[in-house]
């Protein structure tokens, strides 16, 4: 009797425990579901609302180029732009193949014949323009960072240098890229004279304009970061008598990396905006020129094509910022820092 009682008690506890198990998993699933809703559904709903408002609003407006395109037309043009790019590539491949065959025939007839190798001169496609713009902004930004980080560190360390540089920085910081552009163009034209240019003048002009505009946020943020290093850490450096180089690499740079990256991200964002404007104004190859050409072209598809460019500019800007964030995560010592 006693034994069975114990047994039945034991059985009860087992069943109770088992019945608890599915509950735990249910709760877990609920959590995952909630997270998914939060991280996916909310942005998706917002996006849908945006597209609906856009479609409804666009249908109301008639311009000289026809109705303002809605999401569907823009998506169509995005596909068209891509297929145009593919066609252009096919043409290019065909061109090179023909040239090769022609040259081979010539050489077969006469081994000493001089063969000409021409490069394809098709119109740059939308994708080509994107590639040009991205490359230009990265080069301009890289040069700017190469200058701005050391300048920021030095002026953060030295009060006198800061006082000397600060007025210049404050004056040049708010200058629009479009004001720089004519000057940069003239100077590049005057100084960059070679018979065999490695880079086109337009590329150098655009890149320098980007550089000039994306210097300032990095300089200012780095300066602030360096000049606000924890005083205790500076005391440690003094007590240890760290030399200048060790002081910079072990204390100054690691502790100012968050501020430095905040500046770099602002700089890259500004650089990207600046570049599009500069390309429009100077007719330098890139996305800006694409937008301007479409505007001048004035076909019924132009507005939709420009909108494709607008989205491309936005997405690339976002991607560039994300890339900087990932770089910051890699470089920064504080892996727990919330990065936005």
């Amino acid at each position: 009797m006693v034994n069975t009682e114990v047994f039945s008690n034991f059985k009860n506890t087992v069943t109770i425990k088992l019945s608890l198990l599915p509950k735990f998993t249910e709760i877990k699933w609920l959590d995952i579901f909630k997270k998914a809703v939060n991280s996916l559904a909310v942005p998706l709903i917002a996006l849908t609302v945006f597209l609906a408002l856009w479609a409804a609003g666009a249908a109301q407006i008639q311009t000289s180029l026809g109705q303002v395109p809605g999401p569907v037309q823009v998506w169509e043009q995005a596909k068209t732009l891509y297929s145009e790019h593919r066609e252009e590539r096919v043409k290019e491949a065909a061109f090179y193949q023909r040239q090769e065959q022609r040259n081979a025939r010539k050489l077969a007839k006469n081994p000493d014949a001089k063969v000409k190798i021409l490069s394809y001169t098709g119109k740059p496609t939308f994708i080509d323009q994107i590639a040009t713009s991205v490359f230009t902004v990265l080069v301009g930004f890289f040069i700017a960072s190469l200058i701005a980080i050391p300048v920021g560190i030095i002026s953060g360390l030295n009060e006198t240098i800061y006082k000397a540089l600060n007025p210049l920085i404050q004056i040049f910081k708010p200058v629009s890229p479009l004001a720089w552009l004519p000057i940069v163009t003239m100077i590049v034209s005057a100084l960059y004279v070679t018979d065999d240019p490695a880079f086109s003048k337009s590329f150098i002009t655009s890149a320098i304009t980007v550089t000039l505009c994306s210097l300032w946020p990095t300089i200012i943020n780095t300066t602030v970061g360096v000049s606000s290093i924890d005083k205790d850490l500076l005391n440690v450096s003094h007590v240890l008598r760290l030399n200048w180089m060790t002081h910079i690499t072990k204390i100054v740079i690691p502790s100012s990396i968050p501020m430095m990256f905040a500046g770099l991200r602002v700089s890259l964002g500004i650089g990207w905006m600046v570049l599009i404007a500069a390309e429009m104004l100077a007719q330098n190859p890139g996305l800006g020129k694409f937008v301007w050409d479409e505007f001048q072209n004035g076909s019924s598809n132009s507005m939709a094509r420009i909108m494709v460019a607008v989205f491309a500019i936005g997405l690339i800007g976002f991607a560039l910022d994300l890339a900087m964030l990932m770089l910051q995560r890699r470089v920064s010592w504080d892996k727990n820092a919330v990065l936005r």
Binding site: D232, V239, R241, L242, K250
Partner: protein, 267 residues
């Protein structure tokens, strides 16, 4: 214990420039410390205890008077006067090992081989019982552990004088007691010359050979010096009933809360 006079704080006064004119923080602080002696500076907050320590460390320059270490005046910071800072001041991007390594490389490069340095770093970390977590970053260890690493870093410099600025002030009472016991143990082995700032009366009596009690600022100076002639090794539990321990403790308390009662507290 050797009785050679090692460190002399000689008639030190300091004034800070403020918008309202110069502010005299210390007035004629005069103290000499023997080799191997453990001296505590105690006083109310704002009385200039830290300022004294910072002058000895060379982080501040005395307006008049000076600090003489082993017969030579010191007026700039250096590893011969290692500092244990109140809030550990470890470099957050370096592991415990690397934090100590930075100091060891600075002091011993050229004097020790790489292997010797590694051994020395590990020795000092095990001295403070941190050898189990030496490759952790400061953010991954507790406040008490950070302070242990801070002490290891200072000890690893083999300083002539170890300066401790309220080393356990930011810790909870239990951790603080553990740290004090560790420090007693380390001190019994290494017999360093130590100046420690504290506002904890028990801590001062438990650890010190002498307690220097400071008057309230401005123009603070040394009010009274108390010899703590309790036998070592000391044990906090045994001392709890010790007559002379309690007598010394009472004297410090009387100084702090009767004679040097802060004006705002009296009000």
């Amino acid at each position: 214990m050797m009785n050679k006079k090692q460190l002399e704080i000689s008639h030190v006064s300091i004034e800070f420039a403020t918008p309202g004119g110069p502010f005299k923080a210390l007035d004629n602080v005069d103290l000499s410390i023997k080799e191997g002696e453990f001296v505590s500076l105690i006083g109310h907050s704002g009385c200039g205890k830290s300022t004294v320590l910072n002058i000895v460390a060379g982080l501040y320059q005395a307006t008049s008077g000076g600090v003489i270490l082993d017969g030579r005046e010191v007026d700039e910071p250096g590893p011969d006067r290692a500092v244990v800072f109140q809030n550990h001041s470890l470099l957050p991007w370096l592991s415990a090992y690397e934090n100590v390594e930075l100091a060891v490389k600075q002091v011993f490069s050229g004097k020790k081989t790489k292997a010797e340095m590694k051994q020395w770093i590990e020795h000092n970390l095990s001295l403070v019982q941190m050898d189990h977590a030496m490759h952790k970053k400061p953010s991954e260890i507790s406040g008490g552990m950070k302070q242990r690493v801070g002490i290891a870093r200072a000890l690893a410099m083999e300083p002539k004088v170890l300066l401790m600025d309220e080393p356990f002030g930011a810790l909870d009472a239990l951790t603080r007691a553990h740290m004090q016991d560790s420090l007693i143990e380390i001190q019994s082995r290494l017999n360093n010359t130590v100046i420690m700032i504290t506002h904890d009366v028990d801590e001062a009596v438990l650890l010190s050979d002498r307690i220097v009690m400071m008057t309230n600022g401005p123009a603070a100076s040394i009010g009274e010096i108390l010899d703590v002639d309790l036998p070592r090794p000391r044990n906090r539990v045994e001392l709890a009933d010790n007559k002379s321990y309690n007598h010394i403790r009472a004297q410090v308390l009387k100084f702090l809360y009767e004679r040097q009662r802060k004006p705002e507290e009296a009000a």
